[in-house]
Symmetry: C2
């Protein structure tokens, strides 16, 4: 029996590079370090034509959206491209549809705007990149903005803060799904500091201009 | 007059995703946050056919190696693909040639093995991913291995530790070239903890299995 979780990682033009590359690295390396038992990760986009990520990185998606109508875990990265995606029914409808049966929907950075636009963040706490707190509030007025955490876990839906916070959120999800030892092994392999849930909740003043980054 | 520094970021099959995506993010975002004045970054590979990075991420390089015979900054990422690259004369010769006139040669993770193979690390301190310390020592016996720092600066040549350390090294290089304020602005935008040179030199026991990651 194969219990591998399928992951659909959304790509679109002007996606922020580290928003998708961070989670890609965490989940794919975790799978590889654990005998290929845990995840099958696929990049998905409207078509399989090259996606031009921010600043010109050209990436070929694995499958097109309509070929992946369901997945266990959905990852929605951010970037300036989210503005255009918000008015692309084919993507927004895919997000709504695939979210219905997914175990987890994870957003990185301004990817939360797409969840907000899809109505998935109503009446729950969430976070996003610090430059789009206001945009998130406009798209989803009932969402309670969390400005001082790297990621916010609502059970099925987990949102993370800007860019690099997607790495922390991904490691956190690996820990939630398979335990701290598995997550820590990946973090050590990546030579990345491993934030525990406790660390996350202690962060504050993430964007107070007079203080160093408080999550250090 | 255009003083933008050109950056050549090497890609090859089975390159580690975050090894190239981290520096790509740091240098390209730094350029964008500073009125597009600082860097022109190009991904380079043997041909412009898709490169299949680790775990299947497919990336289209911007230019082929022989179309980019020089650059101000060369970035050599790592990954399991470095083993094959070591026996590819077309890449190894490009590294040797382009390094002659470059201002800086930066390696991430096991990318240091390629610098070692090209004879660029003779008689100097260097670091790499913790799993290939021995391989680096075999390839370049006169290199002094630094096991407890995120990156090692030899002036022209800067090597970084595993995977995520490429982000720290890139921010460090931005600071070295354009000052701490520019680097810190990028780090804050990326919501990434900004390591100063002092922090780096204080790290220790990076891979003592009994201690948490000491660079936190």
């Amino acid at each position: 029996m194969n219990n591998k979780k399928t992951i659909a990682l959304l790509l679109f033009d002007d996606v922020e590079v580290m928003d998708f590359a961070g989670p890609f690295e965490v989940f794919s390396v975790t799978n590889e370090l654990n005998q290929d038992y845990l995840f099958t990760l696929r990049t998905v986009a409207v078509t399989t034509d090259p996606v031009i990520a921010r600043n010109g990185l050209s990436v070929n998606p694995d499958v097109q959206l309509d070929a992946m109508p369901q997945a266990d875990i959905i990852i929605i990265p951010g970037g300036d491209g989210t503005r255009a995606v918000l008015s692309q029914p084919v993507v927004m409808n895919w997000i709504k549809q695939v979210s219905t049966h997914a175990e987890h929907i994870l957003s990185v950075c301004s990817g939360a705007l797409l969840l907000a636009g899809a109505g998935l963040l109503n009446d729950m706490p969430a976070t996003t990149h610090h430059e789009v707190f206001d945009t998130l509030a406009e798209l989803s007025p009932s969402t309670r903005l969390i400005r001082d955490q790297r990621f916010v876990d609502n059970g099925k839906i987990v949102t993370s803060a800007g860019i690099s916070a997607g790495i922390d959120m991904s490691l956190y999800m690996v820990a939630r799904l398979y335990g701290h030892d598995i997550a820590q092994k990946t973090a050590r392999y990546m030579e990345y500091p491993y934030f525990t849930e406790t660390d996350n909740s202690q962060n504050e003043d993430r964007f107070n201009d007079n203080s160093p980054l408080a999550f250090m």
